[in-house]
């Protein structure tokens, strides 16, 4: 177990390096910062000063190493759109995103696990058929259209909830539902198949034969064993969830990291893009690490 975590931790910096290198190269190759930072009336002195400050005269790889050195010191550069340090823009945006992610994730996990469980118990009967069909339809649903439908119905027609923006708790409901729907169907289907797998195991038959109560079988035998595939699926889907938050935030004008990245990319605000993607990748790496550790706790067989 310790080795597993240690190996994952050792790989994390490598992952972040790769991700930041790709982003850095793409951003530098395609846009000359001189054209972006300075307007048409620039003087040669200004150009020279900027080239000096950003080390643009040096080879790309050297520029990247200098960037890394700065990042190691906590300096992600200054934002072009906002003027202040890029890290500040990211720090303000990360809180709403985490809020949204947590609400959506709990929604998806709770409903998905309960739904999958119900479908497994009533396997091949009406509740299973209804839930599974709903889940497959949900898998095919473009999340941005779902968001638009929700706005049409709850915000425009019923006028119960605000169309977009952020503020009190009512603003988070529609974005969270939209985001949760990206994961919910998959969760339901994975839980269902994991539960059915475990139900066919010998030890469940034994437990039944011993006369254990249904509740005890569920809590002590069924659930712990089904939890592992669900967790490993969760680990894979963290990235999907974050990718989904980019789109959800754009639909609902949620002031989070995803919207920041989209607007920074449009404005060619390279420092903000790099910093934001850095933290996104960091989140994903750590989330899958936590999932790995949880798996080790749930299933002793993995603790190699």
């Amino acid at each position: 177990m310790f080795m597993l975590v240690a190996r994952r931790l050792a790989l994390a910096p490598l992952t972040l390096l790769l991700v930041s290198f790709v982003c850095f190269v793409v951003l530098r190759v395609t846009g000359n910062p001189v054209d972006i930072y300075l307007d048409i009336n620039r003087t040669p002195e200004q150009v020279a000063a900027l080239t000096e400050r950003l080390h643009l005269d040096k080879p790309l790889i050297v520029q990247y190493l200098i960037y890394l050195r700065d990042v190691a010191q906590g300096n992600f550069g200054d934002s072009l759109q906002y003027g202040g340090p890029a890290i500040d823009a990211v720090a303000t945006a990360i809180v709403p995103t985490i809020k949204l992610l947590l609400v959506a994730l709990s929604l998806a996990v709770v409903l998905g696990v309960v739904g999958g469980f119900v479908a497994a118990v009533y396997r091949d009967r009406l509740p299973d058929f209804a839930l599974s069909s709903l889940a497959v339809t949900g898998q095919s649903m473009p999340s941005f259209w779902l968001g638009i439908l929700l706005i049409q119905f709850f915000a425009l027609k019923l006028q119960w909830l605000p169309t977009s923006g952020s503020g009190d708790w009512r603003h988070i409901i529609l974005p969270a539902i939209t985001l949760a729907t990206i994961l919910l169907p998959n969760f339901l289907l994975v839980t269902r198949s994991a539960m059915i797998d475990v139900m066919n195991e010998q030890f469940i038959v034994t437990a039944r034969a011993k006369g254990l109560s249904n509740l005890r079988i569920l809590v002590r035998h069924l659930f712990p064993n089904a939890l592992n595939p669900i967790l490993s699926f969760l680990g894979i889907q963290v990235g999907t969830l974050i990718a989904g938050s980019v789109i959800t935030e754009s639909i609902f004008a949620w002031p989070g990291l995803g919207r920041l990245i989209v607007s920074a990319v449009f404005h060619r605000d390279a420092p903000v893009v790099l910093a934001a993607i850095f933290f996104t990748s960091l989140t994903i790496v750590f989330a899958s690490l936590i999932v790995d550790i949880l798996q080790g706790i749930v299933d002793p067989r993995i603790r190699r």
């Binding site: 992952t15 846009g31 473009p142 638009i148 049409q152 797998d197 699926f233 990245i261 993607i277 994903i284």
Partner: protein
């Protein structure tokens, strides 16, 4: 044919609907009632025929410039299908090469390729796509390129696991004992074993790619307007939600129908290949027996429907 339908309705319904949309896309020139780019400002924002104020001249209504929505949807299917299919082919090719290479060679090759795949997992595909499209511009070609590159590791992971298990089977050992070269073994003995799983995975990925393409178009990073793509229509519709909700909804319905059909077709294929759906003829079941593990792995990745284990127990 009837027997196949009875045994596997998902495969037939999904496949039939996909075929229908493909035909519509191919013959768009003959089917579409209007030119999808022809503006008619007098007839702008007309609702669909079944709503009050709509007319049968524009069955699904018109958009902000008076363009016929039905025609735009019909032409839009071309881009969705093309981008979805082409990017699937690209990522399938990269993933297959990487996965087979890593699984067959093992050792350091495996470490490098699979760690690269892990690292790629930490960069959400949408972010990569946004970055690339913003840098190199939209358009069909760039979209195919970036969507193809952003999903290779899904194939690589599945193919890697499969290759490793196939490699240990006796017929591969036998071939290598006969002095067959690596390339020959891979092409003749390993890749044929991967085809069923690859087919299912690729089919389901086409659906994902189409969703991704429409999502990027929706963010304004797809094929640039005025191109008639489903994502563009949806994005235009978002700005007119108050006055003309049918614009966004018609594109939404088109997307969900196509993706649902592809997903059904993919799930049908999975059941068709899966030995544990007992309705298959016995010879085919034996032939596909090796897929058990692979299908499980696949379900983990793409979210299985889990029908199979249930049947096994019965």
């Amino acid at each position: 044919m009837i027997k196949l339908f009875r045994d596997n309705p998902k495969l037939c319904i999904g496949g039939g609907f996909v075929a229908l949309i493909v035909i519509v896309a191919i013959f768009a020139d003959f089917i579409a009632p209007y030119d999808p780019y022809k503006q008619n400002l007098i007839r702008r924002l007309k609702p669909p025929a079944w709503m009050s104020g709509g007319s049968s001249a524009n069955l699904l209504g018109t958009d902000n410039y008076g363009r016929d929505l039905l025609s735009r949807l019909i032409y839009g299917s071309r881009i969705s299908l093309m981008v979805g299919f082409a990017s699937m082919c690209l990522s399938c090719m990269i993933g297959l090469l990487a996965g087979v290479f890593a699984g067959y060679r093992g050792g350091r090759t495996e470490q490098v390729i699979m760690r690269l795949a892990d690292a790629h997992m930490a960069l959400p595909d949408v972010l990569l796509a946004i970055l690339f499209v913003a840098a190199f511009g939209g358009g069909v070609f760039n979209l195919v390129l970036v969507l193809g590159v952003s999903r290779w590791m899904i194939y690589a992971r599945v193919i890697f696991g499969l290759t490793r298990s196939v490699k240990q089977r006796p017929f591969v050992e036998a071939a290598s004992a006969y002095g067959a070269g690596d390339l020959y073994i891979i092409l003749r003995h390993i890749i044929p074993q991967l085809i069923p799983v690859l087919t299912v995975l690729a089919t389901l990925q086409v659906a994902q790619m189409i969703l991704q393409e429409t999502a990027l178009s929706f963010l304004g990073l797809g094929v640039p307007p005025p191109a008639a793509t489903w994502g563009n229509i949806l994005a235009e519709g978002r700005d007119r939600l108050f006055v003309a909700p049918w614009i966004a909804n018609s594109a939404g319905v088109a997307i969900i129908l196509l993706v649902l059909a592809i997903n059904l077709f993919g799930n049908g294929l999975r059941e068709y290949f899966d030995p544990r759906s007992t309705r298959l003829p016995p010879d085919l079941s034996a032939k596909t027996g090796r897929l058990k593990l692979a299908v499980k792995q696949l379900q983990k990745l793409v979210g299985g429907d889990g029908k199979a284990p249930a049947r096994q127990a019965e």
